[in-house]
């Protein structure tokens, strides 16, 4: 090997590349190692021997069910879900109860019976106001009936007058 000394120098300096080191290994595992390099032969042979060392076989994992940490994750999801539901119920409850109260002149009335009484009173007051407005209309009707009566009298008069004129 022509560059053996140069590569060895780089090798011991820690600056050789992997491909250069592979060349050195191939050289030292061959039968053509020059005499001045023979002392390094076991050095490189040792690394090759170590790589060929038998290592124990590891039992493969056969488990197919979800591992413990996944179960924990599911548990965390369930707990989080329950917590979210509780939070939603707590937040929504006042809104759901809002049908049972009345705001009266800016004041909140939570007692439903009282609220109902107030509402009925309000409606009665409104009805009486409507009735009062209708009173003049009712009087107009009376006037109309009276006028109709007057009209009938004039018709009777006319009829009598006509009959009298015929008799004459």
């Amino acid at each position: 090997m022509e560059r053996a000394d140069e590569l060895l120098s780089k090798y011991f300096g820690g600056t050789s590349t992997l491909s250069e080191e592979k060349k050195l290994k191939a050289y030292f595992n061959s039968e053509h190692v020059s005499e001045n390099h023979v002392i390094y032969k076991p050095f490189f042979q040792q690394f090759t021997a170590e790589k060929e060392e038998i290592y124990p076989e590891v039992t493969p994992i056969l488990r197919t069910e979800k591992p413990k940490n996944n179960r924990n994750r599911i548990l965390i999801w369930i707990i989080s879900g329950i917590a979210a539901c509780l939070l939603a119920i707590t937040t929504m409850r006042p809104l759901m109860q809002s049908e049972d109260y009345l705001i009266m002149k800016g004041k909140r009335i939570d007692n439903p019976e009282l609220a109902q009484q107030i509402a009925i009173k309000k409606m009665e007051k409104s009805l009486s106001m409507v009735n009062r407005r209708l009173e003049p209309v009712e009087k107009l009707g009376e006037v109309e009936t009276q006028l109709e009566k007057i009209e009938k009298i004039s018709q009777i008069r006319q009829n009598v007058h006509n009959k009298l004129s015929k008799i004459k």
């Binding site: 050095f43 040792q46 690394f47 790589k51 590891v58 493969p60 591992p67």
Partner: protein
């Protein structure tokens, strides 16, 4: 991620992860335990693995953290362990390691944990400097420096040992 897909990815990484753990822990039994721990840890995180770009690097990083935990536990329990006693092999034990290749292995095992991990990731697993930097949580420059130091240490040790051997042979010949 399905169990089948996970197993296929993990089995391709097993050798690399085991060697890395064994290198860090210097104990094959503990390395096997660490491998199983990492397998379970990755399985638990499998939902996140689909978005991991560098699966090898990510798994090696998880393994490194697991090994560091084991080393920390060892220190807390103060048990006598290969990592703590390996540097104190007696000369007789050292002499038993006759094979030069095994001697290199012993020298690598004696390196500090950081250098040991880096040299094996590079020279055994053939990983890029950037990948090693990610796993070790350090800069690429720091990886290069530590890699160079580790290689130089072993080289010096080998040369020293050979020198010592030659001296012994020479002395024996002189005495003869």
């Amino acid at each position: 991620m399905e169990a089948q897909k996970f197993n296929s990815i993990f089995s391709a990484l097993t050798g690399k992860l085991y060697r890395f753990a064994k290198s860090m822990l210097r104990d094959s039994v503990e390395a096997e335990d660490a491998l199983q721990d990492v397998q379970l840890k990755l399985w638990e995180k499998r939902s996140e693995l689909d978005v991991v770009e560098n699966m090898d690097g990510f798994a090696m990083r998880v393994m490194r953290n697991r090994c560091l935990d084991i080393i920390r536990q060892r220190r807390e329990t103060s048990e006598l362990h290969p990592e703590l006693i390996s540097d104190h092999k007696n000369p007789h034990e050292q002499a038993e390691v006759k094979n030069m290749t095994e001697r290199v292995k012993l020298l690598i095992d004696r390196l500090p944990e950081l250098q040991r991990s880096i040299i094996r990731m590079r020279d055994v697993e053939e990983m890029e400097t950037s990948e090693i930097a990610y796993i070790m949580d350090m800069s690429e420059n720091a990886v290069t420096v530590n890699l160079s130091r580790a290689r130089m240490k072993i080289k010096t040790q080998i040369l020293n040992e050979l020198q010592a051997e030659n001296n012994t042979i020479w002395k024996e010949q002189m005495n003869y």
